[in-house]
């Protein structure tokens, strides 16, 4: 399982990085989205992969941490997802405004 997930993260990173250095703004926004998936998965996987152990505890029972997935990376990623959405939105608007102002969708604001 770890192997599959790490390969998947690698593919996401590669696609993201490739798009990141492309000249068109739309490519960059897709690239950033893919990269953010990869990073979220990476952070999440730092808590190790466990199936059927969601971090939802039973009240009043002695708690064994080993029986649950690590909640900390999950909390980190949860906010990261929302913030990621915000930055995507911001970038999209900047992309649109730049396209409106400069008449091109090249990242430098002018055709090479």
């Amino acid at each position: 399982m770890e192997l599959v997930l790490s390969l998947a993260i690698g593919v996401l990173v590669s696609s993201g990085v490739w798009l990141l250095v492309r000249p068109r703004t739309y490519q960059v926004i897709i690239g950033l989205a893919l990269l953010s998936y990869a990073v979220n998965l990476f952070i999440f996987s730092m808590g190790r992969l466990r199936t059927n152990m969601p971090p939802i505890v039973e009240p009043g029972v002695e708690i064994d941490p080993a029986a649950f997935a690590d909640p900390v990376p999950q909390a980190l990623v949860l906010t990261a997802i929302v913030i990621g959405f915000a930055t995507t939105a911001l970038f999209l608007v900047i992309l649109l405004a730049s396209r409106g102002l400069t008449g091109t969708d090249h990242v430098d604001g002018r055709e090479p």
């Binding site: 399982m1 999440f44 939802i56 039973e58 909640p71 929302v82 999209l92 608007v93 430098d108």
Partner: protein, 952 residues
């Protein structure tokens, strides 16, 4: 002691600043008994004790003497400035700068820590900049201020580095520790660089050759400022530092040659330049430079007697130069000009001022029975002594005598041209005596000159002794302050200087009456011009060439460098630390999961491949990758993440869909031609991307297969219910344990939403996107062509079923959001997920009903949602203060609500409600801001059409 720290309050009244300086003066006087016999008063305030940085205040005899000068002359300057400044000038600013400067200077003098000293040092530079540039409408003042700041600021930086080296050598920044370890410092390898850097600081501050040129340019300041900065304080800071560190640094060849060369050349050149100035203040400025050179020379000699003379001369120079500056200010104020070619015969108009100025300049020239004479005698006596067998040392007495003669010449010139001779012609104003209180400070200072000059032993003697002991300690030599030492070589030198100076003046008199500014022969060599040229070279030409060489305005190379650097930063430690990958085991692999991720990877690569020409396809593929991510979260026990990811995925896709309409068309055929260079670039990028992906894969795999260390997650798991009152640990972490982080995050979200909104308010679409999209045009044409149809009807018919469905779904979605929100503390859900779900509810209405339809029926005020959410979260957090707990401590209890049953009611729930409200507001704001553009562009089109009609 507190009164001596920089006063930060704006003092609007002159008497207030006067009172502050008098108070400081009184405190200094009061402290005298405690420092009188070489003792040290210390007060330590912990600052950064780990680094040995304490705000130590330390007052010894030398600091005391300087405090007296700073506060005493400071008070006199305040009194003087009260009459000098015109009512039109913003006087409160002046006095607050002056007080701030006084505070900084005072702090520098009494601080007991090297780093603190450097800080106060920089503060004096900054405040002197503000004071010199006080008349900021005047270009000369601005230039002078900038030059002073640049030179002294650079010096200050050097000083800081030098002091840090000293601190490194000694192992402590404490001044007492440093003063006690002179031998250690002098024998250390780093002594030379430290000395050089510290000297850079001290020599620039004290305007020593070749850094002297800022001082004459700083004369554009108001005269009280000049009187204060250039007599008692600013320029004295340099020599103060030299004297302070004298026991530690002096006595070596390096010290003697650097300081000696700078000092003696400043002494002679300054005096020579002073003779040929036409501006009264210019003359005084160069004479100040010259006198500072004298002090520096004395300190360079490395003999204790030299140090005594230097300290003595610092005091003397402060008194007579402050009074002379004030006198020059009075002349300027009452006669309206400072040009010595215009001024003459003022004695009959202002006899008092003239007499005072005469006495003071006699002190400057070193006439017997005045204080300047005493220290000059000591100086001459010191120069004759042989210190180091070298050409410089042999030459010193002759040069000193020459400079003495020059000093006499310019002093005589000052008096003779201004006060004697024919009645002045065409002066801007009719000169007269100044107000009584404006003259009073000058009178006091001149009186001090006289008294010290006549009976030095009983006036300044004990205080000077205190200061000298505190600097020299056991090396204090025997010295005599008597006026009459009998006929000896120094007296002879004085006589030669006096007579020589007078003779020189009578030779030069006629030439000077007509000549231009600056001495003959050296007119071309203006420090100012060299300085400006250097500045232009460094800050313009070099900067430009570096920018064009290293910088790029193109984004792609910058990003590429960032990516490569990130890769290298990750690779390097792994490469060095050894990184071995275990062979992957294939046992635990589930085929379904593999299949899912095969789809995911294809989606990712496909998105990357299609993003240029097929945006919609790329978006869908990206969504596919997102969904697979979402399934992964669910698979590995993270239901919260899966839920949020799913909802966010929806919103993101819709958002980008809305944006797609404004992007330019791009056809594959048009730019198909790929040059070899572009191909090379792509190959390189491809390689970088593969390398990054492989690297991250390897690291991720390694991390995942390592055994789990003990993490803070265990703590959260154990205490989530007992202390946070919730069973969903992720949610408890977000709203309770790490509530403050969440607070920050929702603030970011709100800020982003507002930014998006603000950016779109001024949105101008590109011309080719303004037109109605092809699809809508076709629909509208059909409606137009058919008689019984109205425009837009086809579209409405199309979406009839979905829009009714969505209307029915709206309450359902709201209920779902409420459900997600309420269960959040115990089961997957929570403010984030519920907020996004709610936003989707609004969004669906927009999609199905059309922007106009929704806005006619529903008033969503997203900005209020944002504000409400943020305030609620903040107030919930602050609520815990009422009960004496830290910010965001939560309280919880289960409430029995009829029908629904047991509901957890933690204050964290309120906080989560804030999160929810903000997320709804932010998401909706962003989405409708973009959606709204299609309506606005209709309006733009209408306006343009109307304009076109008008033109026709």
């Amino acid at each position: 002691m507190a009164a001596m720290l920089p006063p930060s309050a704006r003092n609007t009244e002159a008497w207030l600043s006067g009172a502050v300086s008098v108070l400081a003066f009184a405190i200094a006087v009061y402290l005298y008994p405690s420092v009188a016999d070489g003792a040290v008063v210390r007060r330590e305030i912990e600052w950064v004790p780990e680094l040995g940085l304490n705000a130590t205040l330390r007052m010894d005899g030398f600091a005391w003497l300087f405090s007296m000068l700073i506060t005493g002359i400071g008070f006199l300057v305040v009194l003087y400035a009260r009459y000098y400044m015109s009512p039109k000038d913003p006087v409160p600013r002046f006095f607050s700068f002056l007080l701030a400067f006084m505070g900084a200077m005072q702090g520098m003098v009494i601080c007991g820590n090297l780093i603190l000293l450097a800080i106060f040092w920089e503060l004096t530079s900054i405040f002197s900049f503000l004071l010199i540039g006080y008349w900021h409408h005047n270009a000369a003042a601005r230039d002078g201020a900038r030059m002073a700041l640049t030179i002294t600021g650079v010096g200050g930086l050097c000083l800081l580095v030098g002091l840090i080296i000293i601190g490194h050598i000694v192992g402590s920044y404490d001044l007492d520790a440093v003063l006690a370890s002179g031998d250690l410092i002098r024998s250390h390898d780093l002594y030379a660089p430290a000395l050089l850097l510290i000297l850079m600081g001290a020599l620039t501050k004290s305007a020593q050759f070749p850094f002297h040129f800022w001082l004459p340019n700083a004369m554009a300041a108001p005269t009280p400022v000049s009187a204060y900065l250039h007599s008692a304080t600013m320029v004295k800071a340099g020599v103060f530092l030299l004297a302070r560190l004298w026991p530690v640094l002096s006595g070596t060849d390096e010290w003697f040659f650097i300081v000696g060369t700078a000092g003696i050349s400043t002494l002679v050149l300054g005096a020579y330049f002073a003779i040929f100035q036409q501006d009264l203040k210019g003359l005084l400025a160069y004479s100040t430079i010259s006198h500072l050179g004298l002090i520096t020379t004395l300190l360079s000699l490395g003999s204790p007697l030299g140090a005594v003379a230097a300290i003595f001369h610092m005091v003397n120079h402060a008194t007579f130069k402050a009074s002379l500056f004030m006198a020059a200010g009075i002349i300027d104020h009452e006669a309206g000009t400072r040009d010595m070619r215009k001024l003459s015969g003022l004695f009959s108009f202002m006899p008092f001022t003239a007499t005072l100025a005469m006495v003071a300049s006699a002190a400057m020239a070193g006439v017997p029975l005045l204080n300047g004479f005493l220290s000059k005698e000591m100086f001459f006596a010191e120069t004759i002594e042989q210190h180091r067998a070298s050409l410089l040392d042999t030459l010193t007495p002759y040069l000193a005598t020459l400079a003495g003669a020059f000093a006499v010449t310019y002093s005589v010139r000052f008096i003779h041209t201004v006060f004697f001779g024919p009645k002045p012609m065409d002066l801007p104003r009719q000169p007269h005596e100044p107000p009584h209180w404006m003259r009073r400070p000058v009178e006091l200072l001149v009186l001090a000159c006289l008294v010290i000059g006549v009976v030095p032993g009983i006036t300044i003697g004990p205080y000077l002794h205190t200061a000298v002991v505190s600097v020299l300690g056991e090396r204090t030599p025997y010295y005599s302050l008597a006026v009459w030492h009998g006929f000896n070589t120094p007296l002879l030198m004085s006589m030669i200087a006096l007579v020589g100076g007078l003779v020189l003046y009578f030779f030069l008199k006629n030439y000077l009456a007509r000549s231009e500014e600056d001495p003959p022969g050296l007119r071309g060599l203006r420090g100012q011009r060299i300085f400006e040229r250097i500045l232009v070279t460094v800050s313009w030409r070099w900067a430009r060439s570096i920018e064009s060489f290293l910088g790029t305005r193109r984004l792609q190379p910058q990003l590429r460098i960032l990516v490569v650097l990130a890769f290298a930063a990750g690779f390097w430690p792994l490469f060095n630390g050894g990184f071995d990958l275990d062979l992957p085991s294939l046992e635990r692999i589930e085929p379904v999961f593999v299949l899912i991720w095969l789809v995911g990877m294809v989606c990712a690569v496909g998105a990357a491949y299609q993003a240029k020409y097929h945006r919609l396809a790329a978006l869908i593929l990206m969504g596919g990758a997102g969904l697979v991510t979402c399934i992964t979260f669910l698979w590995f026990s993270a239901p919260d993440l899966a839920l949020t990811q799913l909802l966010v995925e929806v919103v993101t896709t819709v958002l980008i869909l809305l944006g797609l309409r404004w992007l330019p068309k791009r056809q594959e055929k048009v730019d198909i031609a790929i040059t070899p260079a572009a191909r090379l670039r792509r190959n390189r990028d491809f390689f970088i991307a593969i390398a990054c992906g492989a690297g991250v894969s390897a690291v991720a795999y390694k991390m995942m297969t390592l055994p789990v260390p003990v993490s803070i997650g265990d703590f959260f798991l154990r205490h989530a219910y007992s202390e946070g009152g919730g069973t969903n640990v992720v949610n408890v972490i977000l709203v309770d344990f790490r509530g403050f982080d969440t607070m920050g995050e929702i603030t970011v979200l709100g800020v982003v939403a507002l930014t998006v909104f603000a950016l779109l308010r001024r949105f101008r679409p590109a011309p080719d996107s303004v037109e109605v999209p092809e699809q809508q045009r076709l629909q509208n044409e059909y409606d137009d062509a058919t008689a019984e149809r109205e425009i837009g009807e086809t579209l409405r018919d199309y979406l009839m079923v979905p829009s009714v469905l969505m209307q029915w779904m709206f309450p359902v979605i709201i209920t779902l959001a409420a459900y997600l929100f309420l269960r959040g503390h115990d089961l997957p859900g929570g403010g984030f997920a519920a907020g996004v779900a709610m936003a989707i509810g609004f969004l669906l209405q927009y999609l199905a009903g059309g922007t106009r339809w929704v806005e006619d029926r529903l008033r969503i005020l997203p900005v209020r949602w944002i504000g409400f959410g943020l305030l609620l979260a903040a107030f919930t957090g602050m609520g815990s203060w009422l009960f004496g707990f830290p910010f965001l401590t939560s309280y919880f209890q289960y409430l029995e609500i009829p029908v629904i049953g047991k509901v957890p009611a933690a204050t964290a729930l309120l906080f989560d409600l804030g999160v929810f409200s903000l997320v709804v507001g932010a998401t909706v704001l962003m989405l409708i801001a973009i959606a709204h553009q299609s309506i606005r562009s209709h309006r733009v089109r209408a306006v343009e059409a109307a304009k076109a009609e008008e033109d026709a």
